[in-house]
Amino acid sequence: MKRWIMVVPLMVFLLLAVVLYKGLFLKPDELPSAMIGKPFPAFSLASVQGERTLSRADLLGRPALVNVWGTWCPSCKVEHPYLNQLAEQGVVIHGINYKDDNAAALKWLAEFHNPYQLGIRDEQGTLGLDLGVYGAPETFLIDAQGVIRYRHVGVVDATVWREQLAPLYQGLVDEARP
């Protein structure tokens, strides 16, 4: 009998073990965004505060985080103080108030502070749909030209910011600087 054939089951086992072990740390509920590298979709929606009409052009010029939120979303409440903190540090954050009641959104912003430079009112979820949003909170990172560079599904906290978003954001800020 050939010797090598005896190690085949062991090799198969090890391979399977590695694959399954890696599988333990996958997050299948965090879908990769199909929008990475694509321009932020065009839209024409009212603002949350005031009576402005916002469009894609309003987002251009500076790299920014675009945060999808709603008052119906408990995780958004968890996330909100950290967004306030980031905004205070000078990070540009825009908000998409996704499938929400505008009065509730206004109350929320008055109560918990408003970290958003622009508040987009997406009551029907049309912009969310064009962005491939499937829940809240989701946070997109766009560059100065309005191209989507990254998406984070779920709460942005200090760890997520430090490990995922901050390096990319800083890179884009440096890139945009003449």
Binding site: P32, S33, L131
Partner: protein, 158 residues
């Protein structure tokens, strides 16, 4: 009689409740309804990942159903509707993913494994057959002498 009637009414009520979760759309014709059914079965809910969007009660699934209905009304083809979804949610939303560089393993992997199994089987069968022909069942002279000795010994023991 009254009790039966009450049960009937209650039963109908429950039926209506169950139906309330399903949105009601008016289709132009039977073909369009069929296409709607087909599409909502083939597209997967991004939120509740093991359900198609026809089955799911997630708000996002309802939105996607509404979009499909809207696009059917606009006369879009099935392919256009699927492309619309894939552009936004990625290949993930298709239960029948398109054949491309990233999905060929998914499509052909099982076939390749099956073929591999047959190859291994064929090799083993052929090798066994070869051995059967090559190995003489009859004992050599030496072996026969050894056997005779062993048998002798057995008999002497008795």
């Amino acid at each position: 009689m009254k009790r039966w009637l009450a049960a009937l009414v209650l039963g109908l009520g429950i039926g209506n409740l169950a139906q309330a979760a399903i949105d009601t759309y008016q289709f132009a014709d039977e073909a369009e309804r069929e296409r709607y059914r087909e599409l909502t079965k083939e597209l997967r809910c991004p939120k509740c990942q093991n359900q198609d969007i026809a089955d799911s009660n997630a708000p996002i699934a309802a939105d996607l159903r509404r979009e499909i209905f809207r696009m059917l009304g606009e006369g879009k083809s099935n392919q256009q509707i699927i492309d619309f979804m894939v552009d936004r949610y990625g290949d993930f939303v298709r239960y029948k993913p398109a054949l491309n560089g990233r999905t060929w393993l998914l499509w052909f992997g099982p076939g390749v494994l099956l073929a591999g199994g047959f190859v291994v089987l064929a090799v083993i069968v052929r090798r066994r057959r070869g051995q059967a022909v090559g190995d003489d069942d009859r004992l050599s002279v030496e072996e026969r002498e050894r056997l005779a000795k062993l048998l002798d010994r057995e008999q002497n023991h008795d």
